[in-house]
């Protein structure tokens, strides 16, 4: 069964220079393992293909039922250099929530 991440998680994003970070938080703690399994760094890199220039890193925060993603080269230089509306990566969060994952066997 396909599930959109917006049904399973909430998120907040921000910036560090030209890198956007997305914190992805399970709505229900029991769904955190699903996020760990399906929302891999490679899968997120595919989701944002063509929209970011660098690699994607992932960190796990099981205590907060959250994953943290770093999207490098996401902000057209970042901060004051960037020409993007979202120069500070504030809404990469909901862009990730558009992702669909295949859950169940």
């Amino acid at each position: 069964m396909k599930r959109k991440l917006v049904e399973l998680a909430h998120a907040r994003s921000g910036d560090k220079g030209d890198t956007a970070n997305i914190g992805l938080i399970a709505l229900k703690p029991k769904d955190y393992p699903l996020l760990v399994k399906h929302v891999t760094a490679a899968r997120v890199a595919r989701h944002f293909k063509g929209m970011i220039k660098g690699p994607v890193e992932r960190f796990e925060l099981p205590n907060l039922h959250a994953l943290n993603f770093l999207l490098h080269g996401a902000l057209d230089g970042g901060g004051t250099i960037s020409l993007k509306t979202d120069a500070q990566g504030k809404v990469f969060s909901t862009a990730l929530l558009r992702m669909e994952i295949e859950v169940g066997k």
């Binding site: 220079g17 030209d18 929209m51 205590n63 250099i81 020409l83 509306t85 969060s93 909901t94």
Partner: protein, 462 residues
């Protein structure tokens, strides 16, 4: 807190999350219920260069003037209730900021009732050549390039100081502590170290105070503001309560807000703030220590009260982060609104026409960036997957250009308006007039050995 007695709990209120945050928040924080400290964060990376520019024109300026206005409003309460204030409003001129606050205090009849601590030592702009000559090449943390590359365009350079000088100012009796580039978290950690007598190498306590600082450093962003989870049910944002950390000596603390305020403090709102601007969660590095965010335990203990415990820390590194601002070039952004039918198609056609004209003029840009606001400006190709673009009522064409020289950017700003009469139809929304070329001040992150930076504290009596 004199006489050696230590309090059971200390309440630190977040009053400003950035320069430009809600002007009502500090007053509400000091009048809405008991607080021991008011913490106000004013400095973003770009702010320092703006302040440096102001100071170069007028040596009495270079600090966050809004802070002085705020102090005029809250000082009578602050003095009457014995509330202490920590703020990095000093920018590149903390002493001038303190003098301005002292003048306000005297105007309010508070002569002799206020001691202001001033923290300096972060400003490296006058020392750069000496540092570079001694082998501190301040390599860019992202690109690895030495600062030498942009040395002649540097506008400001500041080391991020930690909580130590804030603690020193409080210990010497300051009621208001005004700093330059002290970390956001240091402004909260400093009061807790001072109040509880935490040692600088009590790494778990230092980490806990740092996490507390991180949670409240963006103001209401942990208490219901910008919170995605169940956002429609967050009550009374018009009256949103800014956060308060209620800390205990063991390093555990509760995140709360004043009664009869709006917003919401729950696991979701605090977690969203915890992951905001996060890098590697196991190593949240500050000048004071390294906090491990994977050790944080959250528990909702009652309505609008979240308990934070279990935070573990590691020793501080021997480096400080340095933020250098330098002149980069110019940019401008022009917008026009295209309307149904075929709104997106018209906007795309206009973009093609504009780009062809820019090319025909031979203008050289480092970047031309087009977005269609209302369609794909923020979510790119992901946004249009399930959308019938033909029915879009309106789309804003937004084109930005960037160049090292001003001339091509200036010429670009004159190519927007003509499109209204000589480009695709059904276009409006140029009421703002011709866009202006804007100077770009870019930011250069680097590290420096801690021993090269000596924080200094002085006291000023109002």
């Amino acid at each position: 807190m004199t006489g050696g007695g230590r309090p059971a709990t200390v309440r630190v209120a977040g009053g400003q999350g950035f320069w430009g945050d809600w002007l009502e928040a500090p007053y509400r924080q000091v009048t809405g219920g008991p607080v021991d400290y008011l913490m106000m964060d004013y400095l973003a990376e770009v702010t320092m260069s703006i302040l440096q520019k102001q100071k170069s024109r007028d040596p009495a300026r270079g600090y966050a003037t809004d802070f002085v206005t705020q102090m005029e409003r809250i000082l009578p309460t602050v003095v009457a209730r014995g509330i202490k204030v920590t703020a990095n409003a000093g920018g590149v001129n903390p002493r001038a900021c303190a003098m301005a606050v002292a003048a306000v205090a005297r105007k309010l009849g508070l002569n002799g009732k206020l001691t202001i601590g001033v923290v300096t030592g972060d400003d490296l702009v006058g020392r750069l050549d000496g540092l570079i000559a001694r082998g501190h090449d301040l390599k860019n943390l992202d690109t690895g390039r030495p600062l030498h590359d942009v040395r002649d365009r540097v506008l400001s350079a500041n080391a991020y100081l930690g909580a130590a000088p804030v603690v020193e100012a409080l210990q010497r009796g300051a009621q208001i502590v005004i700093t330059g580039r002290v970390t956001d978290t240091g402004l909260t950690l400093g009061p807790l170290m001072h109040a509880f007598g935490w040692a600088p190498d009590a790494w778990d306590r230092i980490a806990a105070g740092t996490v507390a600082g991180h949670i409240i450093e963006c103001g209401a962003q942990c208490s219901g503001g910008n919170c995605l989870r169940d956002w429609k049910r967050i009550p009374d944002l018009a009256n949103v309560g800014y956060p308060i950390v209620e800390a205990r000596a063991d390093g555990s603390f509760d995140v709360v807000k004043h009664p009869r305020t709006g917003g919401r403090i729950d696991i979701a709102s605090v977690t969203e703030q915890l992951v905001y601007e996060m890098g590697d969660p196991r190593s949240y590095i500050t000048p004071d220590g390294v906090a491990d965010f994977t050790t944080i335990q959250l528990r909702q203990v009652s309505k609008d009260r979240v308990r934070v415990s279990g935070v573990r820390g590691k020793p501080a590194t021997d480096k400080l982060k340095v933020s250098v601002a330098y002149f980069y070039g110019y940019k401008a952004v022009g917008t026009l609104v295209y309307v149904w039918p075929d709104a997106l198609e018209k906007a795309k056609a206009a973009d093609r026409v504009l780009r062809e004209r820019l090319a025909n003029l031979g203008l050289k840009f480092e970047a031309i960036h087009t977005e269609f606001v209302g369609a794909d400006a923020t979510h790119g190709r992901l946004a249009l997957k399930d959308v019938d673009v033909a029915t879009m009522p309106e789309v804003q064409l937004r084109v930005g250009v960037r160049a090292r020289d001003e001339a091509p950017v200036d010429r670009f700003t004159r190519e927007i308006a003509p499109l209204i009469l000589n480009g695709p139809p059904s276009v409006t929304g140029f009421a703002g007039g011709r866009p202006k070329p804007e100077e770009i001040v870019a930011y250069w992150p680097a590290l420096i050995e801690k021993r090269m930076v000596q924080p200094a504290v002085e006291l000023i009596q109002a």
